[in-house]
Symmetry: D3
């Protein structure tokens, strides 16, 4: 029995709030149930060294978690003096996912920096972050278009993400924390609006999984991501 009587293939309630803070070019609070991530998109009129003079822009991401976003307090990474391997893995994933739907040539020599900060964690923070960051990026791009700095959008498609997993033998969509810690297999799937894969990261936490299980997980993820893409669209129209 899942929280709130969710079925196995049902997303948690998703909320996407645009303009959550005032300074960033895009600022979105995304909520997957109790998971809350603030995603901001910052435009900077410069690019990192490896892109200088290329005529291309850059899109990158950083991820963080407030120390008490979790059940028990975690160390503050700034105080400890380094980002954990987990943090780096997640922010690299977010960056790659967003770049997959960006035409960097069309962006021109400027950067969009996506900051995804978890205010409250209940499983699925990285997939919520990708889903929300795309909306924040869209808002930043729309501003550049409105200001005439861009003639056409460099965003080529939606991108959204969801976690799936096998808990006590049952494949489930969009795991919350208690499901996540007890699952045998955990998979994060990132797809475009066209239903193509950008990233698939499946890990057997307990028993290795079969091809049949993987097929079932991919089916669930596809369903969930299609719904998330509609919610992104709805949020942009709001």
């Amino acid at each position: 029995m899942r929280t709130g009587g969710r079925t196995a293939d049902q997303l948690r309630p998703v909320r996407i709030t645009r303009g959550y803070t005032i300074h960033a070019e895009g600022s979105v609070l995304v909520e997957f149930g109790q998971t809350r991530v603030l995603c901001t998109a910052s435009v900077e009129e410069k690019v990192p060294p490896h892109k200088r003079g290329s005529g291309e822009g850059w899109v990158t991401a950083e991820y963080g978690m407030l120390p008490r976003a979790t059940h028990t307090r975690g160390d503050r990474e700034a105080a400890r003096g380094k980002q954990s391997g987990r943090t780096q893995e997640i922010q690299r994933l977010i960056g790659r996912s967003l770049r997959a739907v960006f035409d960097l040539k069309r962006l021109g020599e400027r950067s969009i920096q996506l900051d995804c900060d978890v205010l409250q964690a209940d499983g699925g923070t990285r997939t919520a972050a990708i889903t929300g960051a795309w909306v924040a990026a869209q808002d930043a791009v729309n501003r550049l278009l409105a200001e005439g700095k861009l003639k056409e959008s460099p965003i080529t498609s939606h991108v959204a993400a969801v976690s799936v997993g096998i808990v006590e033998g049952t494949p489930l969509l969009d795991l919350e924390y208690v499901e996540d810690v007890s699952c045998d297999t955990d998979m994060n799937v990132v797809m475009t609006g066209a239903g193509h894969y950008v990233e698939v990261q499946g890990t057997a936490e307990g028993v290795p999984f079969t091809r049949k299980e993987m097929d079932e997980l991919l089916r669930l993820a596809e369903k969930g991501i299609a719904e998330l893409v509609q919610m992104q669209e709805a949020a942009l129209k709001a």
Copy 2:
């Protein structure tokens, strides 16, 4: 002319929202106008080495700012690998201010960790943080009392803080960002509910200030803090 027609001795609209996130023992969003700081209080049943076996507890604070809490994006301290001098200065100030109203013996050998994270900055983040952290600490203590882990509260008084400054010759209460950057003198004042000083930190950013100006600034601060203490009280009753 101040934003929203504020008078020189008027606070910005202050909002104190308790229970802002679900995991922490105390979780408060404090807003001084557009400045928004999330203050969480986490109880841990252990103390740092210098307090072990002393029968006394410990209260400490950490401070952070989301990269895009500000007009232009700042570096993420976790990525850069160290906290700035400014960050350390502020978190030390918050920690000292809260300890000033804590009877550590009465707290027993446990810690209260205060995390103050700025979601949106518009001047006065450290004073908002102190004001909100006190409410979060109160909520955490109330839970310890309710659970029977504490018999009497270790909190001996309110503590709240406000900034004051001299802008173009005029002493002002509760500076917002545009006032802060153009002020000649900037002073942060921390006081107890009884109207006594815990910290006074005045800095001449431009022209050094006279004793007469300091007296005027202290008068403004006293007025503002008395109002903040009432708002803390009201928030706790809500």
Copy 3:
């Protein structure tokens, strides 16, 4: 046309040399074509803090690349003062992969530390590392069995890994460097001897990939890993 006339579903020549260095309990040089990784397994009669008193052991991995393992010299991570995000991601993957086939209870309160150091890189260093580390771990376990420190092996299955990818529309097995840099999709697959999945990490470097392409990639990986498992077995018998 692939180097050496390889077909699309053909592994590079694989060599597994046991006892490559003298001090480690297990020491294996694994070569996938020109990629050469030295994998050592070190037994330590202690466990990290989170396992102390649990009756369980621990298996973990670290990964490194000699500065001139690559075409152009890379910075030495020890000199730069930190491991890159890529390095951390890879060593976490290797550790998880090996733990997936270890019964930590049966290992007892001791650790096996796997060090995978790339002497020469030509694509697929992480998959070679996993494949070689399993053989090194097996050698270390066999020594513990021979010394009577273990009664039964804690290793529950083979584990091996291979990369697959889509280059100019063609799915290929076991990418070498020139294929890797030009591929649209890159996938690392880790499987047990029983043909079940431990990890699947697929990334669209260029064009997002379809479900049909993923199915084809998984088929290639399954074929390659089955062959690698046989080579592991042959190496252990040599």
Copy 4:
């Protein structure tokens, strides 16, 4: 009863020795009783990035304490790999204090770096450092004037500092270590030669302090700083 029969409003014996070391443009050993701080001023014909091309110069400070300057040995910050929050707080204070009496435009695009290193500590190291650094800066400026690199002095006033505090209910001037550790309130005051405030940093270490106590502390500080300014003047004439 204070050491040496000092009265409550009396400074410790102060000695200011110019030319203490040979290489620096200004080199001053300042002694407040047993507290001994070596202050050097180094002129560099370049400015940090935020001042380049501005036509303005820069004045900044660094602070350190020899490991055995204190009663019990402290860690060497260089060995530990970072400066403590306390160290950073102090060096930021020294830098701001000196900049308050510098006309950076008149200095031209060059820097004066003040290094304040505590050889022996007995309370009041930061106030001694500010007082001594001003004399070292003056010597460096005089050399620039003598060399014709400057036409007029960029130093607009004296700056000096002293600590005051309340020990067992009695306000005292210029606390030495044993007074400092037992005081209820500790205040560092930085003033110009004209008697205006540059910094006021008061902290209740024990009982919060009243407005009346603050007034008394400020009175003591004003007296002490006026005397220190005379000693700076005398030292420059020696």
Copy 5:
């Protein structure tokens, strides 16, 4: 009695294998008995800041040890976040030794970076590294000559190194690990092909040594280095 019946003034079997890896301009595996060090020479067409515009090149070295090169596993320096004092001392020694036989003007504004990584340690890793690095540097220079980037060789002489020491009163040449840990005096000597000294580093680990002992150690080192220079020459001709 020494391993393999070596006499006191006999080197261990030395092997110098060129072209050990494929990417570096020079790549040499040097073996002094069980000690195995991989030395690569990387040419870069740029120089560090202190040489820019000087018309001179630069030669520098870095040293590392694989974690399980030794009897018991050592920490990975990249994971610990810094190089040990020992590592830095050794890589500075290697760099100075090689620069002693380089005419940096003749090298032109380019760098040769020597990486010496210990695959297996059994005493004398730094002396093996110097001996092997010279051969790797020679290979890199020969390639520059062949490509016409250099007209004449910047290498002015051979350089090679050996350790000597006093074990239980007996002076020995080329200490292996068990001799090294039990010796009273340990000396590393670096000499040119002409028999002149580049470095002499003698340390009394136990009893201080006399002038007579030093003379005997220097005699042994001279003999050993003359043999090593012949082996370098032979390797280059192979």
Copy 6:
């Protein structure tokens, strides 16, 4: 012609001032001409982990240089966040040198920490540091003997050090800075009171040196160290 008309085999004026600061158990300012190093010896009633329970004590050293001890200002290592390779090399040398004349068993399970901080540099800082640190250690040991914590001295001999070098073909004793930067060979020699070697570190900065030159350098060093030992003795009697 040397400064002050010194002959080739003459030391600079040496001054050893005991009790230079008040807190340390031993505190010595040692001056070799214009080089001034403050050496403190701190006794701690504990030992590092590798000596716990061994019944033996430990002697170790740290070295630092004030930023403006030199002609041009050097970076502050504490601010830069790490000690340079040179600093680590020197402090390791000082520690080894002092341990060479300490019977750690007789010291008992306590530590003597030697801090050598250069106030003013003019060549030979490490040799002055060793020479001064021995006197500081002697003072600390004498205090332990006086307090009855030690029955007999753990110090088995004097230890002192001097630099020698070849400048324009002439071997010189005790190089000052201008000689040091122009010398072809630089050698630091550490000897006991009995005239035996503890450390010999010779480096060809320019032209490699011959055996005959080394013999001459060792002769000069022996002469200088014998004189330094007499000055240590005289200082202790003062």
